[in-house]
Amino acid sequence: MLPLADTQFVEATWIMVVKSIVIFAVIFGIVPVMTVVERKLIGRFQHRYGPNRVGPFGLLQPLADLFKLISKEGFRPAGAIPLLYVLGPLLPVLSGVMALAIIPWGDVQGGVGLYGIDVPIGILYFFAVGSIAFYGLLLGGWSSGSKYSLLGAMRGAAQLISYEVSMGLALLGAIIMGGSLSLVDVVHAQGAIWFVVPQIVGFVVFMLAGFAETNRTPFDMPEADAELVQGFMTEYGGMRFGSFLMVEYLEIIVVCGVAAAMFLGGWMGPGPGFLDPIWMLLKMFALVFVFIWVRATLPRLRYDQLMTLGWKVLLPLATLNVLVTAVLVVVT
């Protein structure tokens, strides 16, 4: 019987409230910075500077973008279904923010756990909540009343079922080695060696599935700006469109956070305890850099190639990885 997460640890309600506000504020401060960092990095990857006109080094660019998006008219196409059309961009934001709760920024320090919440089902919560984002995508695409949006939404749904399984199986290896579903316990189990070494296959599969999960190149099929004119986002404008974009970055942060916690030793690092969240952030941003690097490099896959990779390569690899890990853990 595997031990579940420590459910005896209780915090005062006001601490929970403060924690959630802090996490929310910090992450929503990071998201706009990420957009400008991504644009600048992609520029560097292509021998150019990227945005550098607004503010020092172009750092105020996201503010200008935000102001532009907010000041736009919130229109709705005539063929759209009003309620679902509005709900479309809201659900992914909700799911992204909820998934943030389980990312561990540090251990329990001074009676306060440096994480949103340490739920006993841990990583299952991440999958359960993370998948809600695709409801928003599907609803938004379907209710827009446009064939491009519908195509993008259908692609997104198909992509979700082909990659969610591999993603879960890829994490299962680390969960078996950590002996717990809780992210905090998995990080604790990585004191001797980061799981990226024994679970390298799981890590690679998780990252590949993560590209698909966050609709990033080379798996940005639901958006596919060249063929589907942004897919499910086609009919959206203003801040509704902006929140779809924001969710993309939020999901990247969540996926990178989970990957850093499960495979890269989470908050583990030299230095005193208060540096733990910094280490976690550094590891996350290293992974975010990989996301941007891959976006700057790879073209979009053809749809059947995407499906082939998901079902014929990643799924068997992840399954094999889990089987071997399980046997090895039992034997040793």
């Binding site: 990095l41 520029g43 560097r44 990857f45 292509q46 021998h47 150019r48 500077y49 550098n52 690097w293 891959v294 700057a296 490099t297 790879l298 390569v313």
Partner: protein, 180 residues
């Protein structure tokens, strides 16, 4: 080549084909090529940007670059080189030069010759920067300069008068260095 007796050996071209896609080898090659692509983009990142930040930095031009025209004076006497012969206007394929000549009065000479250009206008909104005026001029009075920033808000502002063409340009356009 028994099947094609009419073909010489040198006519037969070897067709190079890539390896069949799929399988373990295909997956290995795809992975390897992906890593090679990642290496390539990372090398670009390390090399740094190559773009020129235009309004602050300017592209250097070659010495023979044909930019905005200039009219010249003799350096010693300060007299205008242009004698108002209108050969430039005759050579101009875009018909954008207007010259009205006048007689030089002794005592207040304007040019070195008998006559001078009382009016010398170039309509830069029509000019095609072919440089024929420069070639046609017998006294090297008009040459093509290096300025290329001539955008303006009104069409009438693009008609350059003699005074504007004689004046030194406000900002120097950088020239390409030797071998650049």
């Amino acid at each position: 080549m028994p099947d094609f007796p009419y073909l010489d050996d040198q006519d037969v071209v070897e067709v190079q084909r890539g390896p069949e896609p799929g399988g373990v080898g295909g997956a290995y090659r795809a992975f390897g090529e992906t890593l090679r692509g990642l290496k390539t983009t990372m090398a670009r990142l390390i090399e740094g940007p190559m773009t020129i930040q235009y309004p602050e930095e300017k592209t250097p031009v070659y010495p023979r670059f044909r930019g905005r025209h200039k009219l010249h004076k003799f350096e010693d006497s300060g007299l205008e080189k242009c004698v108002g012969c209108s050969l430039c206007a005759a050579a101009c394929p875009a018909d954008c030069i207007r010259v009205v000549a006048a007689e030089n009065i002794p005592g207040e000479r304007v040019s070195a010759g008998e006559r001078y250009a009382a009016v010398y206008e170039i309509n830069l909104s029509r000019c095609i920067f072919c440089g024929y005026c420069e070639i046609a001029c017998p006294f090297d009075a008009i040459t093509m300069g290096h300025d290329y920033e001539m955008a303006d808000y009104g069409r009438e502002d693009l008609i350059f008068t003699k005074e504007m063409l004689l004046a030194e340009s406000l900002e120097r356009t950088p020239l390409k260095a030797e071998g650049e």
